[in-house]
Subunit: 204 residues, 3 copies
Amino acid sequence: MLLALDLLGIFVFAISGGLVAVRNQLDIVGVVVLAMATGLGGGVIRDVLIGAVPPPALDDWRYLAVPAGAGLVTFLWHPAVERLERVMNVFDAAGLGMFCVAGALKAHDYGLGPAPAAALGMLTGIGGGVIRDLLAGRVPVVLRSGELYAIPALAGAAVAATGVELGVRPAVVVVPGAVLASGWRLLAFRKGWTAPAPRVSPPR
Amino acid sequence: MLLALDLLGIFVFAISGGLVAVRNQLDIVGVVVLAMATGLGGGVIRDVLIGAVPPPALDDWRYLAVPAGAGLVTFLWHPAVERLERVMNVFDAAGLGMFCVAGALKAHDYGLGPAPAAALGMLTGIGGGVIRDLLAGRVPVVLRSGELYAIPALAGAAVAATGVELGVRPAVVVVPGAVLASGWRLLAFRKGWTAPAPRVSPPR
Amino acid sequence: MLLALDLLGIFVFAISGGLVAVRNQLDIVGVVVLAMATGLGGGVIRDVLIGAVPPPALDDWRYLAVPAGAGLVTFLWHPAVERLERVMNVFDAAGLGMFCVAGALKAHDYGLGPAPAAALGMLTGIGGGVIRDLLAGRVPVVLRSGELYAIPALAGAAVAATGVELGVRPAVVVVPGAVLASGWRLLAFRKGWTAPAPRVSPPR
């Protein structure tokens, strides 16, 4: 059940990577590599930082097959995939919630305190998209668009990290953490809420 | 003997990094850093992912001296080095074959199954070039050019990874794996074979 | 005392990351993430390469709070921060000296020889800025500007790495290594000394 949810999140993230690759006119290698990097990148960065190597993504062939398949699907049928993009946003928000909570809990398991665990949870949620954008030659969307994406992820991860630090069982903190991150993200997307940008100084 | 071949592959990859740096008007630091990152990057990424740290590139001074020397050679005599570029393509294909097979075998040694080992073998072959291009501010060539580069590397790595998984001795799988990757790469380069790109949807 | 110096260096580097983010019109997430990546990136790369994971930056909340605070300060008061930039150059040079020496000594502690330790010391000093520039979508300044930044860092790290290799106590090699790197960097900045760039071949 958890594995299926995890693979679903990876699949959705990977589709977003494949679409960015298609739009930037990469070839089939680029589409599959961006799909895999987007689906797996956040978790792999977290695993390397906490010393959980080789990461599970390299221990179980399904973790490679799912994002590679998402890349091939996007390569072959990208016009159809693009028409599903509005629906995908719901799944992407769900994936974000799962990834940030799972990242925070795994960091806690490896002995990290609540603040680093929350930071690594956020990184698990946004890391794949950052790698995707770097490979596609653009400044990561999550750092510049003003969309509420990283902040809900950090909030959800912080709830989970604080909960387990206080002795609450992981299974209990998963739901509020993931719902907070996914719900806030989705509401912000629907309502157009944005994160603040620096006030621009007038040019001299 | 193996060490000499390995260092030769690193040298050739490093030259390609140095040339990209010169063409992008980097300074001497950029030329040497790009040479070293291109020569060593693929292997270092693999080693970090499987937990083989510190990587051998940091345990033996020759692994630093060879790509640093390649960078300095490129910095000082880049017009001459550029004239050798056609010859270099042969050595680059040979390096690709060695790197992808060595990467797959090392991943197998660290307990990875055949699919992840093949993926890491490919990553060993293409990783240095990806880092080179990111540092030079361009979308990695291997992801967009349509050249057959990553696919032959994956094929060669898959042959080696499957072979050792089936119990064949490493020394026996090296040759077919490397010859497949290098030969396919070189033939594709000569004949102009390309990997498919996504069909572009007509603009609406 | 050492912790305070370390945190000061991280703070100054983080401010430079925040300023680059503001100038590239990133949002608040981008400003804080670039500040943290610039302040912590060099040390984290070193720690991952030598196997010192989780890195101290994830074990002590102050290592996260200081660069995050620097990011928020830059976000809120960037016009004032920019006016301090000339002063900041002095602190940045001091941070560079400390980082390259501390990086070299830590690499030595993990069993690396003097050449790799010196290389990792330099990487500790410049790595954060490289990540900052990649995330901001520009070719790393340290690779192209011709400014003497990486070379003084390498020299300082080499002094420290060679010293401890010869049996000198770490406390004794810190000062000459850091003074060499910081002083050379600052003098070069003041006097406009530059590193050589490749001679450009005339276009054909």
